[in-house]
Each structure stands twice: as structure tokens, then as C-alpha cells.
């Protein structure tokens, strides 16, 4: 297994308050690392720290983030741009807030791809259609002319994934990608992630508060609680032999019928 992302001893503070405390994580090619925790446990902060899009009041006080052999924290803003959005792609919780509603879907593809590649309009269009059909969006040619507000949340989330597919990202950071979707769409998006990691061998960081999502897709699980990772395990061990008291409580909270 090839390690693509490694977070070493990462700490983040806002003022004097510790937001993340010595986080250690590794993401491997073709594997899904699930990060589970309740609201306020620092999951989103961790994603933002990896993407280095933390709010300006937050500071990384300690640690390293390696993408392959490169420490992302040591890069200048310009150097970082070559990685962010090209190798590391983020998929956020609220797809409709992540799009610009006065630009067509085609413009979104054009903007993203032009930032990283030299491509003609036609090539971009072809690639957009190709990646949108890979994520099972109906009529991709027509969709290019649509505006984000004309699409449903589930469709937008798939367009978002298609964008990441088009730039061939090697790490997908998916921050609660299905929380805003209904269950049927959620299932479709999760199935899609499963296919992507098999076909493209990308590493997926799947942040969620839902044990069902973990059970469906994750290979490894990290449990976050109050800014710390309190337990890391293979998904089977996580469900069968939880170590930490909080993990046990989490597993008991599952609603079954």
C-alpha cells in the first residue's frame, strides 16, 4: 500500500484554545479513511488544516502534513496552489454553497481545469461530459448549460465529484459529503466513491458523523473527540472491538429497528 498523505503531530489553536491536538493520520492509495466524531470535535478543522484553508484566526502551531514526500506546510502560497485543487480535492457538505450560482456548470469545469492544465474549450467540454457520465449524471451535454440552482443537491454533489475526477485528484477530502442529501442520494454518492477509489486508486478521507456511512465505505476509521484522535482501527475492529469508552458510546447510539 502506498502512503499518499501523512499528517504528523498536527496541532491547531484559535487564540489560546486548542482546536486540534497532535493529530497523526495516514491515507493510503485506494483506501477510504473514515473520520468520525460528533459536531464540534474538530473534523472540519482537520480537513481545512490539510487543505490549508483554515480561517485566519486559527493557527497551525505544530506538525507536518506530507503529500507523498512534500511537506505542504513548508510551501509558499504559489507552490501550494499547484497541489491544492490538483492533487488534493475537497468535497464539502453543502454542494449548493460550493458553486457559483451565476455561472454555468461548464464555466465551473473551465475555471477548475484551466487553473491546472493547458486545454482548449473543446477538450474541457469533452472531459467534462466524460467525467459527468462517469458519475451517472443524466444528459451531461445538456447539464453543461445548466446553472447550479437548477440542479438538486444530490446532482450538484455528483457534479462536484465529477470536477475532482476531471482533474484526477489523488486525494479526495470529503467533509460530510452526504449529510445534506436524502438517503437515496446518499447511497448513490457513497457507491460512487467506492467506484472511484477502485478505478482511480485515489485515497479518500471521509469525514462524517454517521456510523452507517463508515460501515458502508470506510476501510480504516479514526475517531475524533474534542480535537484529538482517540482511536484508530481497521473498520472491522472498530465495530467489533472498540477500545475507547467514547467509541463504545458512539456505537451504542445507532438507531436500529
Amino acid at each position: 500500500m502506498k502512503k499518499v498523505l501523512e499528517v504528523k503531530d498536527l496541532s491547531v489553536k484559535i487564540g489560546e484554545e486548542k482546536i486540534l491536538t497532535s493529530i497523526n493520520l495516514s491515507a493510503y492509495q485506494g483506501r477510504v479513511l473514515g473520520i468520525i466524531g460528533e459536531s464540534g470535535s474538530g473534523k472540519t478543522m482537520l480537513c481545512q488544516a490539510i487543505m490549508q484553508s483554515l480561517p485566519s484566526i486559527a493557527q497551525i502551531t505544530h506538525g507536518e502534513i506530507f503529500y507523498q514526500q512534500q511537506d505542504l506546510l513548508k510551501l509558499s502560497a504559489a507552490q501550494l496552489r499547484a497541489y491544492r485543487g490538483r492533487h488534493l480535492s475537497i468535497i464539502m457538505q453543502n454542494p449548493s454553497a460550493a458553486f457559483d450560482h451565476i455561472q454555468t456548470i461548464e464555466r465551473h469545469f473551465r475555471e477548475t481545469l484551466k487553473a491546472h492544465f493547458v486545454m482548449t474549450k473543446n477538450e474541457i467540454r469533452q472531459l467534462a461530459i466524460e467525467s459527468m457520465s462517469k458519475v451517472n449524471l443524466p444528459n451531461p451535454e445538456q447539464l453543461l448549460h445548466y446553472y447550479p440552482f437548477q440542479l438538486s443537491g444530490g446532482m450538484l454533489q455528483r457534479v462536484m465529484i465529477a470536477l475532482s475526477l476531471a482533474i484526477q485528484a489523488s486525494i479526495y477530502i470529503a467533509d460530510e459529503p452526504t449529510t445534506a442529501l436524502d438517503t437515496v442520494n446518499q447511497k448513490q454518492v457513497l457507491t460512487l466513491f467506492d467506484r472511484i477509489r477502485l478505478e482511480t486508486e485515489a485515497a479518500i478521507l471521509l469525514v462524517t458523523h454517521d456510523l452507517g456511512v463508515i460501515a458502508e465505505l470506510a476501510d480504516d476509521v479514526a475517531v475524533m473527540y474534542k480535537g484529538e484522535i482517540i482511536e484508530q482501527a481497521n473498520v472491522y475492529d472498530f465495530f467489533d472491538a472498540p477500545q475507547h469508552a467514547y467509541t463504545k458510546k458512539l456505537l451504542q447510539s445507532r438507531i436500529t429497528f
Partner: protein, 268 residues
Amino acid sequence: MTLLKVKNIEKHYAHRPFIFKRKLAAPALQKVTFSLQEGECLGIVGQSGSGKSTLGRIILGIERPTDGEILFQGVNLYDTTSQQKKLIRRDLQAVFQNSYHSFNPKQTIFQILEEPLLNFEHFSKTERQHKVKELLNCVELESKIAEKYPSQISGGQQQRVNIARALALHPKLIILDEAISSLDMILQKHIIQLLQTLQKDLKLAYIFISHDLQATSFISDRILVMQDGQLVEEIKKDEAFKHPASLELYNAILPCHPRERTNNNTSY
């Protein structure tokens, strides 16, 4: 006793409200008919866009149906005096998904919980303080939270304040529109248990609207499945789903354990 009767509700939204052309779009609701007993918990499930929230809003009187009638304790909600309507409002409460947006951010939790009491009850200040404390207690919140503003408390606490506000006037029916969908799992379970206890203690009826079949089955006595604005199936507790729309929702339930994965093509 029948608490609520929904008869042949239709709702159309004008597709293009253009001056000369008023096309009718596909109806948001079509011939929706059901009834609800006192103290019953009725679940309404369906995918986004199936019309479940519109139905909830029509029962609450936020939107007028294009056709059909709603009888709450025998009184037609859309054909009654404003005096009577006010009385119905008292017995009919709602909790929505986004709790923060249903508060006035400039009011403290105390003011939020006090408002329905000021509108409907003739309580003195001390009585109101006492009642607010009691309500917070009821949803397992500390009474010192009353001095805070909605932005200062967590999502789970906000949702509990919302439930407390809905309980303030001892309603007969609470409509829970995706009330727990935005909460994390530990809180979801907690709030569901809280709702069940309150239902028993206060003999409440709920309409639990959600896209999550699992949570809905857990709390409901009966489930209605909606698709494209129509009721397609009615299921009693522990009955099997038959309609394709219900099965689609059923199949989208995520596994409890990685062993039960459906698309398991990962090898170990």
C-alpha cells in the same frame, strides 16, 4: 379519537408566474388523504421533492392547499374564523430542521420560550419564569441556558429549545419536519428517546417527516410513503414494504456493520 383528517389535498405551484401565461406545473401534492389518531406517531417518508414538507406546511397553515380540506378536531383549518384559527394554532406546533433559523437571534432562550406563553396564557412574570424552567427541565437542559442567545448554544441544544418551545402550550400535535436530520448520532438517539418519553407523558401526537426510513420506523406507529406528491403506501409498524418507492428508501438504509455492505468489492 381522530385528531386530524386530511382530505384530498392538492397543491399546485404556478410554474412560470408570467402575466399572460400561467402554466400549471406537475402538482406538488395530489389527492393526499389520511387521518391521525390522538396520541399516535405518524411517519411520513419520501425522497427530497416528494412533497412531504409541503404537506407538513399545509397542515400547519403556512401554505394554502389548491384544493381539499384539513379537519383538525373536526374544524376545517381553511374555512374558519380567525378566533378559532388561533385556538387551533395553540394545539398545533412544529419543529423544523434548521433550528437556528427558527429563532430570533436577538432574543435570549428565555424570551424565545416565553413568547408562546405571552401570546396565549395570562401568566405573571414569576409564573413564566417557573414555566420556562420547567420546559427546559423537560428537554433535559440546564436552566442557566435561559440567559444565553441561540448563537451561543450548540445545534443539539438549539433543537431541544425548539422542542421545548413547541411543548410550551401543551399542544395535541407536533409536526417534526426533519427535526433530527441535522444532528449527530448521539444527539439523534437522545432526542428520539426524549420525544418518545414526552409522547407517553403528555399524550402527544406526532407527524414525523423525514427521508430517513430508519429513524422514522424507530419512532412511528404507522408510516406513509410519498412519491411525486402522492401517498403510495401505508405501512403499520413491523409490516414489510412493497411499493418500489418504499423499497428504494429501504435499500438506501446504510448497514450497521461493514459485514452487511451491499457493494462490497473490497477484499481483506
